[in-house]
Amino acid sequence: MRRANLKPSFIISALAVFFASSVVVYAADVAQSDPSIGSCIVEFWQRVCSIVQILGKGVLYSVGLFFLTILFALPFGLLVAFARMSKNPILSNIARVYISIMRGTPLMLQLLIVYFGPYYLFGMSLKNYPEFMAAVIAFVLNYSAYFAEIYRSGISSIPVGQYEAANVLGYSKNQTFFKIILPQVIKRILPPVTNEVITLVKDTSLAQVIAVIETFTIAKQLANAQASMLPLICAGVYYYIFNFIVAFAMERIEKKLNYYR
């Protein structure tokens, strides 16, 4: 599958839209005073640079949260999918309820519960419990549920003949799954996984509810302090570029797996 939106002309026009909107926002900021055009350009540039710099630290947390979530949620989601597909009714029902709750309640609520839960339920102190860690746990729990359902749909879409051929050839159950089935599953689930991953990039901004110092948290503070929308626009550019890279990487992987059908 080739996405047409990765052409250079598209990149340029997307960035132009962001640039134009920041100029408009900035123009609104300075509309009351009456500075010269030259000083305007210099000041605008200085402000953008300082905002980008201040946001940078938050971006590190956003990116960290993103990668840690992917790192743990992909394998954990596979385990949940196994549980869900298990013949053991207890295990499969636990997984079913888990997925249902994780997908049926807001991620923001889950963040709050994971962070404050230990304090309210067990009286645990929040001192040695960093917000960032809580955010990673909540995101992994939430995204595993989504990934589990994607894995499950992928696994059940593999024809039974593949299992039978492997069985007759003497492959063990593990060999059959990891050598024959999983590679085909990965290829099939790549498009829905890409969707989730792109959503995840944007969802990292929810970590602000438990005061993780991520991009959006800082952008909001800056916007309040400066009484300007410019920091929010800059944050938007950060998220956009981040997702752009993610989409590009996923497309590359998809292409790499295009050698078979």
Partner: protein, 252 residues
């Protein structure tokens, strides 16, 4: 000693008894064709023989080694998983829908199991695989992927895959049912050649003329029982049993 010896095979799916006591003995170098109407149990028989289904009653031995033995009341007792896996080397199965692994190249489809499952010598296996591909008329296709091949070519690859361990018996489950007439011919030609080389084969098929031509023995199954068996001359050209006559009359 028989290559395959099945005795008193019973198999039910829920309430439905599909096989009601079937005996099958295949000698070395013999080609046995199993014919019969849809739902007669011929595919189930093949699936039990290749351990894809578990039989309820009866016994089964490959080259005298019991995969399934009879316990109390004739109930089937399966050998250990290790023993079953060892016995799988004795047979190969060619499916109706080929069931090649789409993410493996032609050659990898053939060599992967012997190398990773049976831990055979890599160079030897590759050499054997190339020999088989040559025999199948696919010498220049080893680096292709299944989707780049025609159905007939895919089926020939799967025959090579089934032959890589030199099985004592090769099973075919309606090997040409998914192919058009032209491609059917190229697959039948290969099976004919295998028969000439005295490969032991059990073939479930609807191609009566072909079955008559290559087989030493024809078995007609109806409603889970062997109705008639014998040489092609006896079963196909001059069947004694009325049900066999009816079935063959329908085909003509």
């Amino acid at each position: 000693m028989a290559v395959l010896e099945i005795k008193n095979l019973h198999k039910s799916f829920g309430e439905l008894e599909v096989l009601k006591g079937v005996d099958l003995s295949v000698a070395k170098g013999e080609v046995v064709s199993i014919i019969g109407p849809s739902g007669s149990g011929k595919s189930t028989l093949l699936r039990c023989a290749t351990l894809l289904e578990r039989m309820d009653k009866g016994s089964m031995a490959y080259l005298g080694d019991y995969a399934v033995s009879e316990g109390e009341n004739g109930k089937s007792i399966y050998a250990s998983n290790d023993e079953l896996r060892r016995l799988k080397r004795h047979f190969g199965l060619v499916f109706q829908n080929f069931n090649l692994f789409p993410h493996y190249s032609v050659i990898k489809n053939i060599v992967d199991a012997p190398i990773t499952v049976q831990h055979r010598n890599k160079d030897e296996v590759y050499e054997k695989a190339r020999l088989l591909l040559d025999k199948m008329g696919l010498k220049d296709r080893e680096n292709y992927y299944p989707h780049q091949l025609s159905g007939g070519q895919q089926q020939r690859v799967s025959i090579a895959r089934a032959l890589i361990n030199d099985p004592a018996v090769l099973f075919f489950d309606e090997p040409t049912s998914a192919l058009d007439p032209e491609l059917t011919q190229e697959v039948l030609k290969i099976i004919r050649e295998l028969a000439e080389q005295k490969t032991t084969m059990v073939i479930v098929t609807h191609e009566m003329n072909f079955a008559a031509e290559v087989s030493n023995k024809i078995i007609f199954i109806n409603e889970g029982l062997i109705v008639e068996e014998g040489t092609p001359q006896e079963v196909i050209y001059s069947p004694k049993i009325k049900r066999t006559q009816e079935f063959l009359a329908h085909l003509k």
